[in-house]
Amino acid sequence: MIQPLIQYPNPAIRLISANVRFFNDELTQWITDIRDTMIANDLDALSAILIGIQQSIIVIKEGENYIPYINARLIKHSDVQTQTERSIYYPGISADVDRYDKVTVVYEDENATPCYRDLEGEAARIFQQHFDYCFGSTFVDRVDRDMKQRIHDHLEFGLVKDGGSCPTIFYRDYFKRGARYLILGIAATFLVPFFASGQIQEWTYLMDKYLIVGALLLMIGYFFYAQYESQQYKQCTSCQTGNIIGTLALLMGQLAVVALGVFLWVAP
């Protein structure tokens, strides 16, 4: 069945394809779908991910035949050549890309039999292009920084970010941000003694004291929640712990400075 092509800005392109583990009817169906889509779009090669199947399958047209390369690996390479390349994923964009002119590929056919092929010239280039799609990558990752920036600027939404959410965004940051705002709020009240005195200054002083306690509570909350959050992931706890302690020390320092200001300056 003909499937719609994954094209810019669909983030699925960033998915890393899985090794095919089961050589069954489902695999045959995937290969048929890829071939049908190739015929419909007049393509010489297609990676499964480009029709939304996250499996390491590349189909390459050779004459009238459509050869599936399953779980392909590139073993030997030589003779780097630069050529202008287009990508199915980014229609209308081309860039000069270095690719090997001669490669040896090991792969499995639809019966899981290991196969070995030497590819040269255009065939080698097409294979490498589609091999990269299997690893969540397009030619954009193969060009220099300037070119990458130019492509980024040219694209309506810029280059595609990663496919999913990732925990580089932590909920503990809300605590941190809360504490920062409070500290900033306290710092803002330093202006009060310039304009007001008496009752207002006393109220401000009282409010500041509550804000200091509030910020302190948020920091304590940050510490414990961050500890809890970092334990959700069994990896790199050292780096996370370091980060948490560092962040907390920084916040403490900032709070100490404003607190000092409050007691020496804002206090009536």
Partner: protein
């Protein structure tokens, strides 16, 4: 009073012994048997190997640390296990042979109530003709597997640099010395540290640097690949490492089983069955790992090594060792408690336990040569497993045999691989790559078996700082300085 014997004082053994000694207090005895007089923070050896750190900076004497921790320390290597005791008694014991403490060569039988096998690997240089004999390094290549090897490597490197300064070009070949090696990460770090040092020495243009490894693709690292974030994009370790190699002008050979090493030349077989040769002036090839070759005997004195150990010499634990094809591998095949199924008072941690199968996709050349990385179980997983096993043993000692065992499955553990690509406070670089879980769980994460949302870090100076800070952090922790327990594994 119970006695826990820990064989090995590496990351897993040291972690297990120090925590156990702390938790058990003076009511019970913890004995460490390790042939080394010094503890070595192995990940930093690559810096010793390029002359950026001294051997002393990455090692320290174990004796005072164990004295402080109340651990009985025997500088000896374990030779055999008698988990049922022998004709003269039922008490299980381990036979050790001293390597130091003034008793070198002397044998002793150490009885135990519980035993943690954390012997680490035998560096099996002998598996590749010319790479070495048995567990000793040969004359043609260098290694960074021990602090001594690394120091030797740095001397050889300096000689090459001198030659290049005199106008002689040099060829560097770094990678794995066999089709079934693990620890590609160490070789990866080493090649880029060499590249960095050569650049600093102003001789980079005189050097031809090449990578050779058993990975089916660059960036496999024995885990079937990792991923990382570069400028906000998730990138496969293959794409990332290939661009790093291209950027630094380093060529590579992958899918290679090095089958012979001669003076200045290696021969190898590729995954497609073809043979090749590569010359070198300087070569660091990681050897394959094997079990240390412990023997086991039953009460009657019959050899039961096959019962306790897998054929590769690693200890059998609570894993599913039934051989099955790749598509049937499950996360649940991997051990959770690291307890030996036959002898419940035996545990293994770190490299010493036998994994049920590899992690990367298995691969064979048409000639039948197996060329695939074996599972890494070093560093962080080692420490975590060591601690979990120590916890289990302590609970067994304190609460009796019904105590709940602590679990640490590599199928539920992530790994962060901070790989150094050059040392220096201002121009150092490191790449932080992650994978979660280490062992793919195809049931939980259909497809790749991995949670690819899970990323951390970028290449750059910050990565290097983390790596450098980790060095001090872990040296500090291992020396049991104040608050050592709060530093995670």
């Amino acid at each position: 009073m119970a006695r826990l014997v820990v064989l090995g004082g590496g990351v897993a053994g040291h972690t297990a012994a120090t925590f156990a000694a702390d938790w058990l207090g003076s009511d019970h005895e913890v004995v460490v048997v390790t042939p080394n007089a010094k503890w070595n923070w192995i990940p930093s050896n690559i810096w010793v190997g390029v002359g950026q750190m001294s051997k002393e900076e990455v090692t320290f004497d174990l004796d005072p640390v164990y004295k402080k921790a109340g651990i009985t320390y025997k500088q000896a290597k374990a030779v055999s296990l008698n988990p049922e005791g022998n004709a003269s008694g039922d008490k299980p014991f381990v036979t050790i042979e001293y390597t130091g403490q003034g008793k070198a060569g002397k044998s002793e039988e150490v009885t135990y109530d519980y035993l943690i096998n954390a012997t680490g690997p035998k560096l099996n240089f002998g598996a590749t003709p010319g790479l070495g004999e048995g567990s000793s390094l040969g004359e043609h290549t260098v290694s960074v597997c021990t602090a001594d090897h690394a120091e030797h490597a740095s001397h050889e490197l300096m000689k090459c640099i001198e030659k290049m300064k005199k106008g002689e070009t040099q060829k560097f070949l770094i990678g794995t010395g066999h089709g079934m090696c693990t620890c590609q990460g160490a070789a990866f770090e080493y090649i880029f540290n060499i590249e960095h040092e050569l650049k600093k020495a102003g001789v980079r243009d005189m050097a031809d640097i090449k990578w050779i490894s058993n990975e089916a693709f660059l960036g496999d690292f024995g885990m079937g690949g990792l991923h990382m974030k570069v400028g906000g994009y998730v990138v496969s370790s293959r794409i990332f490492t290939e661009s790093l190699f291209a950027e630094r002008g380093v060529d590579y050979i992958t899918g290679a089983h090095v089958n012979k090493v001669e003076k200045g030349k290696v021969s190898y077989e590729l995954l497609d069955g073809t043979m090749g040769e590569e010359t070198f002036d300087f070569s660091m090839l990681i050897p394959p790992f094997a079990g240390v070759g412990l023997k086991a005997y039953n009460k009657a004195g019959d050899d039961i090594t096959d019962t306790v150990f897998a054929p590769n010499g690693f200890m059998k634990v609570d894993a599913n060792y039934t051989p099955k094809p790749y598509e049937e591998w499950k996360a649940s095949d991997w051990p959770r408690t690291y307890q030996n199924p036959t002898y419940k008072n035996l545990f293994a941690a770190g490299i010493a336990f036998a994994p049920p199968h590899i992690i990367s996709k298995p691969a064979k050349s048409p000639n039948g040569t197996v060329i695939n990385p074996t599972p890494p179980r070093t560093g962080m997983p080692s420490g975590i497993i060591g601690k979990a096993v120590a916890h289990s043993v302590c609970d067994l000692i304190k609460n009796g045999e019904s105590a709940h065992l602590h679990e640490a499955s590599m199928a539920e553990m992530g790994a962060a691989c901070v790989a150094s690509a050059g040392k220096g406070w201002l121009d150092g670089q490191a790449a932080a790559m992650t994978v979660f879980p280490v062992v793919p769980d195809f049931e939980k994460y259909p497809g790749t078996g991995r949670d690819t949302d899970y990323t951390f870090g970028e290449i750059g100076l910050a990565g290097h700082w983390i790596k450098h800070i980790l060095h001090y952090l872990f040296m500090y922790k291992a020396k049991l300085k104040p608050f050592w327990k709060v530093i995670p594994e």
